[in-house]
Symmetry: C2
Subunit: 81 residues, 2 copies
DNA sequence: ATGTGACTTGTAGTCCGTA
DNA sequence: GTACGGACTACAAGTCACA
């Protein structure tokens, strides 16, 4: 059971963000482990983020984007937000 | 004293985000109160976000962007992120 | 109208496992 | 290499009083 209720994440914003992160990660042929290591975020947490089960903080979005070699805004554009 | 250390917010990302939010809010001639009301976020909390003193979460960024009538990605583009 | 400090509650984020 | 769980700790969310 995810910790984010469908009610809170009305437009699936977190899921879309997670999908965008995963897509960029795969494009770079990185493992979750490699990415979470580069972003200095726990691998378990990163997995939940990709699945849209966690409401990431802004600073971590920036860190992840940076680890993916792109801007945070690009991730959101991918997510249609 | 701000709750976010300069060390954590290396590039002033939170400050830039706050500035972008405030700029858009002013452009719409809204008070913090009106905006925080529209975004369903407490005025006090919103004020701290605008000053870059809080590491806001993704879902709240989306809520604020929505209350500002723009996309979350646009806010980040304004912030150069 | 906004800034700020003090506070409680919820959850982001860590660390350990198992499959 | 990834999903998922339990048990923590750190900190964002949310509220209020007062400047």
């Amino acid at each position: 059971m995810a910790r984010i209720s469908a009610g809170l994440d009305k437009d699936g914003a977190l899921v879309n963000l997670g999908v965008a992160i995963r897509a960029r990660r795969k494009a770079l042929h990185l493992s979750q482990e490699a990415l979470s290591d580069a972003a200095e975020i726990d691998r378990s947490h990163m997995g939940k983020i990709e699945r849209g089960e966690r409401n990431v903080t802004f600073l971590n979005i920036v860190k992840i984007a940076s680890a993916l070699g792109c801007k945070a805004s690009e991730l959101l554009v991918d997510s249609n937000l």
